[in-house]
Symmetry: C2
Subunit: 242 residues, 2 copies
């Protein structure tokens, strides 16, 4: 949108996720096909990239930040069906009308491609398509694991597992003493955690204060979590979350 790129190869050369994102499947000199149709785009916390129901016109790689994927029932109940981190692929390349809403949970930067152009490039680079297939299958396994959580785990297990999962995928909070265990900042508020786990905001809050009261974790501010007893937390999660 009136955003002018400095120079394409420059952007890729400096890219933080050059070899975590799908781009990792392409040699330096093959990257031009992708970068030719890509534009970098910032996305502020709270902004939506794609609305469910709109024509899904773009795909993207995440460079920095965290996004959510969400659906909702006709009467407005929301379910977050996945979180996306740097290096993850965003969008539904083969779908005309998006079935999911993609929005930023933190300030983020993306590398965005027009959907149709992306599909064409895909056809020209088998390694790219192969990697996307593998990632998609991994995403499917992840979705199915989450179905188990939604359908069969208790509120306590859900929250414990969620904290472990985030702790593994998120960078440690800068400047936290190592002895405090895993310390990180939640990219989601309580309401969004509830939407991930199929609970209400109150239940999430209560489970967190239970965990804090039992000394397994510590909470400071609204968003900072320290996992003091990972072993106990794993037991509470039903040995699921990591």
């Amino acid at each position: 949108m009136g955003y002018v790129e400095p120079h394409l190869d420059e952007r890729c050369a400096a890219c933080v996720v050059r070899d975590q994102a799908l781009c990792a499947s392409l040699a330096d000199d093959e990257l031009s096909a992708l970068s030719a149709i890509g534009r970098s785009r910032p996305l502020a916390r709270g902004q939506t990239l794609i609305w469910a129901g709109d024509s899904s016109s773009v795909c993207a790689n995440i460079v920095t930040g965290v996004l959510k994927m969400a659906t909702a029932t006709a009467d407005g109940r929301e379910q977050i069906v996945g979180l996306l981190f740097p290096g993850d692929f965003v969008g539904q390349p083969f779908v005309e009308e998006a079935s999911l809403t993609f929005a930023a949970l933190t300030d983020a930067s993306l590398c965005v491609y027009p959907r149709e152009g992306f599909v064409e490039v895909l056809a020209d680079y088998p390694a790219l398509e192969r990697l996307l297939l593998q990632r998609t299958m991994a995403a499917l396994d992840d979705a199915r694991a989450r179905m188990l959580t939604l359908g069969r785990r208790s509120a306590g297990e859900k929250v414990a597992g969620f904290l472990l999962e985030l702790g593994n995928r998120l960078p440690r909070r800068p400047g936290a003493p190592a002895a405090a265990g895993y310390v990180f900042d939640l990219p989601l508020g309580r309401a969004q955690i509830a939407d991930v786990l199929g609970l209400t905001i109150e239940t999430v809050s209560r489970q967190l204060t239970l965990l804090r009261a039992s000394g397994v974790i510590a909470l400071s501010g609204r968003r900072t979590v320290a996992i003091h007893e990972p072993t106990r937390l794993k037991r509470l999660a039903g040995a699921a979350g990591a």
Copy 2:
């Protein structure tokens, strides 16, 4: 397992799902690469093709019958994460150790490929890989829709939506009067329906008798369902299941 094929091309020529399964992406003369490594295999109701935790050594296409995909928690609670119908692809080609159990809900026949061989053929036929990618993405959309159901819908909505979904994918019961509405046989028992929907067997049973009592459906025998008022059923499902 000591099972001798009559003649490869013969098998494909007579195949009921020749152009619903992945094979649809291949021309007649390309099929040989797949059929060369494939073996047809019957699977009796209740039999398991792949156990979660075992090395996942095969993939398959379903020719006839219905399979389930399931996971379980460490302490044995089960969640069925998907049903598979004729033409659907079975297995986790890029995974060494299966994370799901695949088992037959009805007598079934499959076309089975060794996992590694299948991956190799995939690399040689771009159209095959492309179609598998599209199917996998569709499966992902399906899984995410089901996450919404598991996380955010009530027992009544779950059961109503489930019946609608089955009604759309299952053949009508042979010899049923058209005036009776959609009539079909459930391929699952109550316990398995409960495992699909994240409920208990008792809740499923109660919801079904509620639907019957209100005249929306009729039940006869243990497995036959007739949908008498599809419109009302859709409203009860939250306009989700079809």
